[in-house]
């Protein structure tokens, strides 16, 4: 069955001042894909993610969500498109003055008319999904880095976003928790039909959950490969294979 394109990255070029981070990025992410943005340190993975979610305007090109041009849209259109996204930042980016329950509940309070009892139920469930049941009343400062990251994911999925963008989900997590998070990402895709964009260089995660990917090269400062990462491991670009085998291929 033909897959439906959900996100289209079109001729995207990102810069910091005069320095070109990445240029001419073109990708199509289909509905229900788990799309991995991979590449070495400093290649511009997070910069691409910031351009995707509307945090950093690209120097050229744009991003289309279900055919709607994000960067050439009006602020109102951009705000509406942003509501369809859930974003988990690398360190969790939790609001330090709010408890975990309040962090997860805030988007529910802002964007739904649900009664408090119902919001509490959803908050407890989302925290339980990321393995933080019972931590509702904790403040971010009382949590470890891995717990903050998981709480950040619970907040990102509070509104069941149709597109979930996750920055480095596995870094800093123990292997079992990282695996559990991978399973959760797969489940969110399978059960709730979310399209998921993951920025990572964790090989186990890339091969475990990625259904499509882009490899950003820091030397040529552009993408050098796209496609399923498991196929890239077998017969892809040499640089990508070296990356996926820790330099052994």
């Amino acid at each position: 069955m033909e897959k439906e394109p959900h996100i289209k990255i079109h001729n995207l070029t990102m810069t910091y001042g005069d320095f070109i981070v990445q240029h001419d990025i073109n990708c199509v992410i289909n509905k229900g894909d788990i799309f991995v943005i991979m590449g070495g340190n400093g290649c511009g993975k997070t910069t691409l993610m910031r351009a995707l979610v509307g945090l950093q305007r690209p120097a050229a090109g744009t991003v289309f969500y279900s055919g709607e041009d994000f960067w050439n849209g009006t602020p109102e259109e951009q705000a509406r498109l942003k509501r369809r996204l859930g974003i988990m930042f690398q360190g969790g980016a939790l609001w330090s003055s709010l408890t975990l329950a309040e962090n997860v509940a805030l988007p529910l309070h802002e964007y739904t008319g649900l009664p408090p009892g119902r919001i509490d139920e959803i908050v407890s469930f989302k925290l339980a999904l990321v393995g933080l049941a019972g931590f509702e009343e904790f403040y971010p400062v009382e949590l470890s880095g891995g717990m903050k990251k998981r709480a950040g994911l619970a907040r990102a999925i509070a509104l069941d976003p149709e597109i979930l963008v996750i920055d480095e989900p596995s870094s800093g997590l123990d292997p079992l928790t990282a695996r559990r998070l991978d399973d959760l990402i797969l489940e969110l895709r399978d059960s709730l039909g979310a399209t998921i964009v993951v920025v990572t260089h964790e090989l186990a995660s890339i091969l475990n959950i990625g259904s499509s990917s882009v490899y950003l090269d820091s030397e040529t400062r552009t993408m050098i490969a796209t496609g399923n990462p498991r196929e890239a491991l077998k017969s892809g670009e040499a640089k990508v294979r070296r990356f996926l085998t820790r330099g052994e291929a």
Binding site: L114, G117, E121, I122, A128, L129, E137, V141, D183, S191
Partner: protein, 384 residues
């Protein structure tokens, strides 16, 4: 199968029926759309429907339409209640995706934490707690003072781990860069003093003594006090925020693990810089205040420049300068001490950095006020 008992639904997009399945067994029948935006029921509302004799709960979801996480969230709350009541829950009648999500939600046991949030405290309790906190904080303040004293000892014996370049940078930051704000505030204070004095002195025909009032007032008291308050808000808060952010980023821990004293490296240059620059700023503040007094005297009260200058020279004695400069140094030390103390004591969150900066300003102004009072009494008794 017994007759279905509708829990709710009506005109809503979802519906939920409860069917008694023989003794002790109940089946929940879900239908329609179970999404967050559909005003779904709370699982808590269902608890009263589950009578004491129920021992087993099953589900039927053949008529279930679209669902999102609102549906498993409802079921998760219900399941927790059933586990608490010893009711067996059979999930086989649920869609596979829902079962998977529920399995994930219950895979990690719930953390049992009690007493996380107390109720609202009375004013009496709050005042008591604040008082206890204040006295509990005293040893830490004295300990920090002791560490600074030891650090000064190391500085004078040439053993302090300290970079001269940092001292120059801090001196530039706390001195020349504060000149603009000190100029504005002290000019206006001088202006106020001149008007206030002229109004009273005019009644006894002694307007030319405006120069005495402004000169002594600015050099001896107001210059140092106003500069101290400005520096508490500007530099004290900055010290607390800088050191607090370093605490959050574990930079201070990195110093400690390398055997480098953060007091020598970070606190000492800041305290020294402020103690050295504050007398100069105080002197400058006094000069600006007198300039404002001169301006008022010439333009409003018709006193000549030479007359104002002569009167000022006659009024000012070396002791006034000594008092003003010594007060400036003490206020500078107080501001630096409170800024660095609150920065080093800062917690490990962004919010804590804000609290540290606020606390540094409050503590700095409090210490300035206390030391100003003590010094005034001491100088009075010494006849200075």
């Amino acid at each position: 199968m017994k007759k279905a008992h509708p829990i709710s639904g009506g005109k809503k997009a979802w519906n939920l029926d409860m069917r008694r399945q023989g003794s002790g067994e109940v089946q929940l029948v879900f239908g329609g759309r179970w999404c967050i935006d559909e005003d779904l029921p709370c699982a808590g509302e269902l608890k009263s429907e589950l009578s004491e004799d129920i021992r087993r709960l099953t589900y039927h979801s053949a008529d279930l339409g679209a669902w999102d996480s609102g549906f498993p969230a409802f079921l998760a709350t219900l399941q927790k209640f059933c586990v608490g009541r010893g009711i067996e829950v059979d999930q086989r009648g649920l869609p596979e995706g829902v079962r998977h999500l529920l399995t994930m939600a219950f895979a990690v046991p719930e953390q049992k934490v009690s007493g996380r949030r107390g109720g609202r405290q009375t004013l009496f309790v709050q005042v008591g707690a604040a008082t206890i906190d204040f006295f509990r904080g005293m040893p830490a303040m004295l300990h920090f003072l002791g560490e600074i004293t030891l650090s000064f000892g190391r500085l004078f014996t040439g053993r302090a781990q300290f970079r001269m370049g940092d001292l120059w940078l801090e001196m530039e930051e706390v001195g020349p860069r504060a000149l603009a704000i000190v100029s504005v505030i002290c000019f206006l204070v001088g202006l106020i003093l001149a008007y206030l004095g002229a109004d009273q002195l005019r009644m006894v025909g002694a307007q030319r003594f405006i120069a005495d009032l402004v000169a002594i007032g600015m050099v001896r008291e107001m210059g140092a006090l106003m500069t101290g308050i400005i520096i508490a808000g500007r530099t004290g808060a900055a010290f607390a925020a800088q050191l607090g952010t370093m605490q959050v980023n574990e930079e201070i821990d990195a110093f400690k693990t390398m055997g480098i004293s953060p007091i020598d490296f970070l606190v000492l240059p800041r305290i020294l810089a402020l103690m050295l620059m504050m007398p100069l700023l105080t002197l400058y503040a006094g000069f600006i205040g007198m300039l404002a007094g001169l301006l008022v005297s010439i333009t409003i009260f018709d006193i000549g420049v030479f007359e104002y200058y002569t009167e000022t020279l006659q009024a000012l004695e070396l002791k006034h300068f000594m008092v003003g400069l010594s007060k400036g140094s003490v206020y500078g030390a107080m501001v630096a001490y409170s800024g660095c103390l609150r920065g080093i004591q800062c917690g490990r969150s962004a919010e804590a950095v804000g609290e540290a900066a606020t606390s540094a300003v409050v503590t700095g102004i409090l210490l300035i006020t206390i030391s100003a009072s003590l010094l005034t009494i001491v100088y009075y008794h010494l006849g200075i």
